[in-house]
Structure formats: C-alpha cells, structure tokens
Amino acid sequence: MPAESGPILAVSAVSKRFGGLLALDSVSFEVQPKEIFSVIGPNGAGKTTLFSCLVGAVQPTSGSVRFRNEELKGLRNDEIVTRGLVRTHQIVKPFRDMTVADNIRVGVLYGRLRLRGAKARERVDEVLGRTQLTHRAQAKAGVLSIGELKRLEIARALATSPDVLCLDEVMGGLNPAEIQQAMGLVRALRDSGLTILMIEHHVHAVAGLSDRLVVLNFGKKIAEGRPAVALRDPAVVAAYLGDEPEPGAKA
C-alpha cells in the first residue's frame, strides 16, 4: 500500500469526441483525498461525459486518468468500480424489479470489498440506514418516490465501498428540505473518509459544500479554484450569462 500522499485522482488532458462533437477538450485537474470537489458548468458543458470517462463507462479519446497513481485508461467500468471509484447517474436507473435491499446488495457483493454472508448483510443494513431507506428495504425499486430514488442511487454507489464517490446532480428535482438533507449526507460521507466529486446545478449547494471546483464550458476548463474565487471569474460569469468568451481570453 503506497503512502496516501498527493492527489487521489489526477485527470490530465482528457478529451472525448463523439463524431464531430468535441465533448471534452483536454481537461485537467487533481483531486486531493477527502476533498469535496465540484464540477460545474452550463448545460452541455461535458460534465456528465467527464464522469463517464472517469469510471470507464466510455473510453476517453485521449488523455489519462490516474487513480491512486494507477492509470485507469483501458479499464472497464466494473474494474474501476472494484478499485474504489464509482459514480451515480443523473437519470436514475435502479433495477426496477428488485427490492431496494437487493439493489444495494449488488454493489455490496460485487463492489470493492466483495463482501459475503453476515458481513454483506451488515453492510446492506448500514447503507440503508445512512441513506434513510431502511423502512423501504423490501419495497420494489420501481415504486419509489423521486427523493427515495435519488437516495437509492447514492446508496447503490455507496454499497460498492468506494474511496472516491462521483455524484451526478443528486440534488436535482429535490425540495429545499431534501436538499438540506442531501447536503448533510454529503458532508457526513466526506467526514467518514470518502473523497467526493460532484456535479451540481444548485450554486448554493456548491458554494456551501465544495472545497474546490472546476468550471467547464463547451468541454473546456475555464476556471478552477475555491468556490468564492472561481465563481467570480469573468469567464465563468460570461459562460453562465451566455456571453461567448473570446477565444484565448482565458488560458
């Protein structure tokens, strides 16, 4: 086990092209252990594509992703998950015909720790408790409410016992009380030792939670740093107000 020094996740010059569209254009950043790190940007900026590239759901066209100093390029989604890097999906897609508990059990049995028997059952209960789904454990996932589905999405990812958890818009569609709850959960997860990457639309949540963030626009990184600084960057303001940033204005 190498000493945990330096970034836990290093993204360097990652590009992804879909046909004629350059969805990610040479994006680089580093995430430190136990950070809450946000990725923000207008619609179509390439945030979700970035997450897909991180976990190997799609292969980046070029560039490299290093997780705990190991190159992830070429690894499949499941191989990356078993190494401890997992994501949630913005559009939740649980196994609808399975119970909530079984949905979580998949990650417990096949994730990083591959728990079995009593240990697996304990872990399922623990995840159910953390995401406040214990009372819904035996319900079919197909009948859950939006808020419960969002929590189940986090629970499924959490079940794989990740070191880095990538959350894709887990607060979208939630009411203010639920957002407060979700923010509390994210903090608690970080305090228990996880590193959190999140894509989020709620600027309030981003500013309140994140240690640092990057801003993407049209697949390019246009700003990086502490929320208070980065959110005031002229290029970021321009991107959010719909102003076309001048080419090369921010390098």
Binding site: K93, F95, G107
Partner: protein, 324 residues
C-alpha cells in the same frame, strides 16, 4: 426451512414428485419409465438453459450444440473402450470449454444481436459435425455393444435433473443469482456496480452447457445411436428454448412446468401422425401466444390467477402447502 417454504410453496410437491420418480422403476411399466426418462431429460435441458436465458436474459438458440458435444464425446470414448459413465465429465468439460470459446466473442453482443449470433453458431456446428470424419458424418455413430442399461441410465437422468434443479436454486439464492438478475434488468447498471458481466455470463454459459452435455451423453447411451439428425435435430433445439419460455423464463418452476408440458406434447405428437406433422404450428403458436399475452409464461399466468383469488383462499392454499 419455513423461509424456504414461503419462497417456494411448491417445494414439497416437487420433493414428493422426486420421490415418485426415484421409485417409479419398482412399479411402473417400461413405457411409462421411458416417458419419465424423457421428462427428466427435458427438465435438465430447460432448467440449464434457463440459467443463462431466463435468469440473465441471454436467449441462445444454439444449445443443441452442447447436447451434440456430450453425445459425441460419450460415443467416441465408449468406442475407445471407456465406461460410458466416465465419459460424462469429459463431455461436460469439453462443452464448457466450447461454451467459453463461443461466448467470448458473442457475449459482447447484446440482447437480440446475441440471439442471432447463436443461430449462426448452431448452424456452423451442425455443418461442421456433418462434414467431419470422426463423427461418422451424416450417417451417424453407434455405441459399442454391452453399454445399454436402462435402469442405470434412468437413475442417471433423474439424478441429473434433481442435481440441476438444486444447483440452479442454490445459485439463485446466492451472489451469482443476483448478478444474473442484475444483468438481465440492466447490464450497464450491473457493470456500474462492479459486476464483470462478461465473466458472469461466461460462467452461467459454462455451467449450463456442461449440464446439457451430461444429458447429451446419457441420451447417447440410452438410444445407442446418434447422428447430426438426432442430436442437432431442429425440433430438439427448438424444444430446449420453448420449454423455459412457455413455462416461465427466469423462474425455478417455469422450466419444470415447461418440461412437463412438452414431454406430454411429445408423447401425443409421436402417437399421432397428424399431430406430428403440425408440431411447428403448435410450437410456433405457443410462442406467439406467450409473447403476446404473457411473456412470463405459465408461471406468469398462475401468478395472475392467484392475484385474482380472494386473499383468504390464497393463505389457505399456502398453509396447505406448508402442512404437506
């Protein structure tokens, strides 16, 4: 035990039927025994296919290749002086190896694309088997004399059917079963939670093809003669797929019900020339009706009926099962 019963209310019925099968040779006539042998053969095929096709949702139309591998291995090794029983594990191992060779490229395909590719594999195997010298070509091969023992073969097949059902039920209760179910519902989602879908599918394919190959070996010993026309028979490969589909894909009882229905159909078909000529009407019609009205087959139909029954009676039925 009571949890097991609640999960599988039909278990006592199944055990009772299993006991009946074991003692059948004591009192039943030879014709009946033959029918029961055939039913057990069908149960193995249906339940083994269901592991990959039903639980994991990977519908393969090429399973007769594994019956063929098992049957040819048994005959060829028996001709070389082996005891037929010792040939069974060899056939199973060869079939499992072949299933991996076929699975490695085809499991990269999804859903119906996989199904189409398996039609191609089945065709290729049949063409090649008819062209090879050591398979006796289209004229077939005969088992060496002195290898026929119906009672032993009967117990072999009934035993294999029970082993298959217990194995499938056991796998379903464990991590492997959950992974298959996850793959069936959403293969990307399963991978996103760490399931190596290709590996799991290959394992399911290997286990089920090995079971089918053992059944093929027993088939060869029982009939003493095999040819591409008998083991790669279109009706057989059709029956393998139809039994679990009509019975209820992805359930434990479905393939058994399907095997019972189709072994009964087979008896009727063989008895009447008119019906024999219209078996494709019957099989195709069943497939159409099931797909249009109840894709979960007989099991789905029973579930629907049970849901219509008043609640109290359902409970009474469950208790009656529990007491039996």
């Amino acid at each position: 035990m009571s949890a097991l019963l609640r999960r599988h209310p039909l278990l006592p019925v199944g055990l009772a039927f299993g006991a009946f099968l074991l003692f059948a040779p004591v009192f039943a006539e030879r014709g009946t025994e033959n029918d029961l042998w055939n039913m057990s053969f069908f149960v193995v095929l249906a339940a083994a296919w269901n592991l990959l096709g039903g639980f994991a949702g990977q519908v393969s139309l090429g399973y007769s290749a594994f019956v063929g591998i098992g049957a040819y291995t048994t005959v060829l090794l028996a001709k070389a002086g082996w005891s037929p029983w010792l040939t069974l594990p060899v056939g199973a191992a060869l079939a499992a190896a072949f299933s991996v060779v076929v699975g490695l490229p085809t499991f990269r395909l999804r859903g119906p694309y996989f199904t189409i590719a398996t039609i191609g594999v089945g065709e290729a195997v049949r063409v090649i088997a008819s062209g090879l010298d050591f398979t006796g070509g289209s004229s077939g091969l005969r088992m060496p004399p002195g290898t026929f023992d119906f009672t032993a073969n009967y117990y072999g097949m009934v035993g294999l059917a029970l082993v298959t059902l217990v194995l499938v039920a056991w796998l379903q209760q464990h991590a492997f079963g959950l992974a298959l179910e996850a793959i069936r519902q959403d293969i990307d989602g399963a991978e996103a939670l760490g399931v190596n879908s290709t590996q799991v599918k290959l394992q399911a394919h290997a286990i089920s093809s090995a079971l089918v190959a053992v059944a093929g070996g027993l088939f060869a010993t029982n009939f003493q003669y095999i040819s591409p026309g008998s083991v790669f028979d279109f009706r057989l490969s059709l029956t393998i797929v139809l039994m679990p589909i009509v019975g209820g894909m992805g359930t434990l009882t479905g393939p058994v019900l399907g095997a019972m229905l189709f072994s009964y159909l087979q008896i009727k078909l063989l008895a009447s020339p008119a019906l024999r000529d219209s078996y494709l009407f019957i099989y195709g019609g069943l497939l159409i009706v099931v797909m249009l009205f109840e894709p979960r087959g007989i099991v789905g139909l029973l579930d629907r009926l049970r849901a219509r029954l008043p609640r109290r009676r359902t409970q009474a039925v469950a208790e009656a099962h529990g007491a039996g």
